[in-house]
C-alpha cells in the first residue's frame, strides 16, 4: 500500500516537473549551440566548461585569452609572419557565442579589426557587430560602430571622426575606442587633439586599461608638437 502511494507520488511529481519544464525552457535565455562555436585549439576547454554548467565562466576565460592574443599572442594561436590578428575574429566570436551579452567583446574585436593599423578588416568587424545586433539587441554602440566603419570604407574620414567624437564621453564607449580615436588624430597630424585625448584618458579611472599606452603616447606627442613648431615659425 505504501509502495503504491510512493509510486503515485513519484508519477504526480514527475508529471508536474515535466509540465514546469516546458514553460521554463521557453522563457529561458537561449544560447548558441556548441556546434556554432568557432573551432580553435581551445575548443576542448569551452566544451568542458559548458558541459559542466560553467558557460559564463567559460566566456570570461575566453575573454582573458582574447586579451592575451591581442596583447602579445597566445602560444596556441600564433600568427603567420607579416600577418597580425588572423585569429581575432574567431576568438571574438568564441567569447560572444559563449555569452551573447558580452558587449565589450563585440566592440573590442570590431575595434581592432576595423581601425588598427596593419589589420584593416572592416568587413570582418561589421560581421561581428551584425551578430551583436542579432544576439544582443538594444545596444546602440553596435549601430554607431557600423556607421563609423561605413564612413571609413567610403573614405569619409571627417564624418567618421565626427561620429566617434560624438560618443567619446558616452559611458558605453570603450577605452579602446578612445585610444583608436587618439591614434586616428595622430595619423592625420592632429597631434594636439590626440594629446588632449590621451591626457583625458590618463585622468579617468574608466580608461585604466589604456593608461600604460597613454603614458607612452603623451611624451611622444609632446615631442612631435615641439618639432613641428619651429617649422611653422
Amino acid at each position: 500500500m505504501r509502495t503504491t502511494r510512493a509510486l503515485a507520488a513519484a508519477a504526480f511529481a514527475a508529471a508536474l516537473s515535466l509540465g514546469a519544464d516546458l514553460p521554463m525552457s521557453r522563457a529561458a535565455r537561449v544560447f548558441p549551440s556548441l556546434s556554432e562555436l568557432p573551432q580553435t585549439p581551445l575548443s576542448f576547454q569551452d566544451v568542458s566548461l559548458v558541459s559542466t554548467g560553467f558557460r559564463a565562466a567559460a566566456a570570461d576565460l575566453a575573454w582573458v585569452q582574447l586579451l592575451q592574443y591581442a596583447a602579445e599572442g597566445l602560444p596556441e594561436l600564433a600568427d603567420p609572419p607579416g600577418h597580425g590578428y588572423v585569429h581575432l575574429k574567431d576568438l571574438t566570436l568564441r567569447v560572444t557565442r559563449l555569452d551573447p551579452s558580452f558587449h565589450r567583446a563585440y566592440l573590442f574585436g570590431a575595434g581592432i579589426l576595423g581601425w588598427f593599423r596593419g589589420v584593416d578588416a572592416p568587413d570582418q568587424a561589421v560581421e561581428i557587430l551584425e551578430e551583436g545586433r542579432r544576439l544582443d539587441p538594444g545596444q546602440k554602440m553596435y549601430d554607431l560602430y557600423i556607421a563609423a566603419l561605413a564612413y571609413k570604407k567610403a573614405g569619409d574620414y571627417q564624418r567618421m571622426i565626427r561620429l566617434l567624437d560624438s560618443i567619446y564621453d558616452d559611458p558605453q564607449t570603450s577605452p579602446q575606442l578612445r585610444a583608436i580615436l587618439a591614434n586616428i588624430h595622430k595619423s592625420r597630424g592632429e597631434y594636439e587633439l590626440a594629446l588632449r585625448i590621451w591626457e583625458d584618458m590618463l585622468d579617468h579611472e574608466r580608461d585604466a586599461s589604456e593608461h600604460a599606452r597613454a603614458r607612452l603616447q603623451i611624451p611622444e606627442l609632446k615631442r612631435l608638437i615641439r618639432e613641428r613648431r619651429p617649422r611653422r615659425q
Binding site: R2, A9, A10, S17, A27, S33, G53, A57, D60
Partner: protein, 254 residues
C-alpha cells in the same frame, strides 16, 4: 512531522560537526577569493569575472558536497547497521529518509550561504553594482544542488554502490547541461526515432541548461514566468526523486 524534524536536527548537527563539510566550505572560500586574483586579468570586466567565477565556485563546491554526502547518507548507515537501531523506534522509513535528506541539504545550503555572503561582500568591496539579482542566482544554484542531492540519494538506493551512484550522478549533471543541445539536435534530426529518443532523454534528465540563471545573468533579470516555472520544476523534480527513493527504501529488507 516531529519525527522528520528530529532526524533533520540530528543529520544537520552530524554534518556541521563533520570535518569534510568544514574543509569543503573553506576550500570554497579559497576559490571565491581566487576569483579576486584571476579577475585582475580581465581589464574592464573585473567585476563580471569575479561574479561569474565566485558563483561557479560556490555551485561546484555545493555540488561535490551534496553528491558525496547523499550517496553516503543511507548506504553507510546500512553498512554500519546504524539504520537498524533507528528503525526499531517508531520511525517511518519515509520520514527517516526525508529527515536525512533535508538535514543534508540544509548543511550544504548553510555552507553555500556562507560562501555566497563572503563572495557578495568581496564584490561590494570591488565596487560591483547589483544589476541582476544575486539572491536569485544563489537560489538557482541551490536548486540545482537540491535536485542533484535528491537524484544522488535515489541512485545510491537503486544501485546500492557508492562508486556507481557517484559516477551516474556526475554523468547526469553533465547530461543535464546538454538538454538544450539535445533539443537542438532533435529539431534537426531526420530520424523519427532519434528525435523521439533525444526529446525524451532531454525531458527525463534534470534540465539544468534552462535552469541556469547564473549563466544568463548578464542578459538581464528573468521574467516572473521563468522564476515560477523554475521553482516548481526544482521542487517537483526533487519530490519525484524522493518518492522513488522511498519506494526503493521500503523494498529493502532489514
Amino acid at each position: 512531522m516531529e519525527t522528520i524534524k528530529a532526524v533533520f536536527d540530528y543529520t544537520l548537527r552530524e554534518h556541521v560537526r563533520h570535518k569534510v563539510w568544514l574543509s569543503s566550505a573553506l576550500f570554497g572560500l579559497v576559490l571565491v577569493t581566487g576569483g579576486l586574483v584571476t579577475s585582475a586579468l580581465a581589464q574592464g570586466e573585473r567585476a563580471r569575472m569575479m561574479l561569474d567565477l565566485g558563483l561557479a565556485a560556490n555551485e561546484a563546491i555545493g555540488l561535490v558536497s551534496v553528491v558525496f554526502l547523499t550517496v553516503h547518507l543511507i548506504l553507510q548507515e546500512i553498512e554500519t547497521r546504524a539504520v537498524f537501531l533507528i528503525l526499531t523506534h517508531p520511525v517511518r522509513r519515509s520520514d527517516y529518509l526525508l529527515g536525512r535528506f533535508l538535514g543534508t541539504l540544509a548543511a550544504v545550503g548553510l555552507g553555500m550561504a556562507a560562501m555566497g555572503l563572503f563572495h557578495w561582500g568581496l564584490l561590494k568591496i570591488a565596487g560591483w553594482s547589483d544589476e541582476g539579482s544575486y539572491a536569485l542566482a544563489w537560489f538557482c544554484s541551490f536548486g540545482k544542488v537540491a535536485v542533484m542531492g535528491a537524484l544522488s540519494l535515489l541512485l545510491s538506493l537503486a544501485l546500492t554502490s557508492e562508486a556507481a551512484a557517484m559516477s551516474f550522478a556526475s554523468f547526469l549533471w553533465i547530461l543535464g547541461h546538454f538538454t538544450s543541445e539535445m533539443r537542438f539536435l532533435a529539431e534537426r534530426s531526420a530520424s523519427v526515432f532519434a528525435r523521439a529518443a533525444l526529446t525524451t532523454v532531454s525531458h527525463v534528465v534534470p534540465d539544468f541548461a534552462h535552469f541556469n540563471y547564473r549563466d544568463a545573468w548578464h542578459a538581464g533579470p528573468p521574467g516572473a514566468r521563468w522564476i515560477a516555472a523554475a521553482a516548481i520544476y526544482a521542487l517537483a523534480y526533487c519530490a519525484a526523486c524522493l518518492a522513488l527513493s522511498v519506494q526503493f527504501f521500503e523494498q529493502k529488507e532489514f
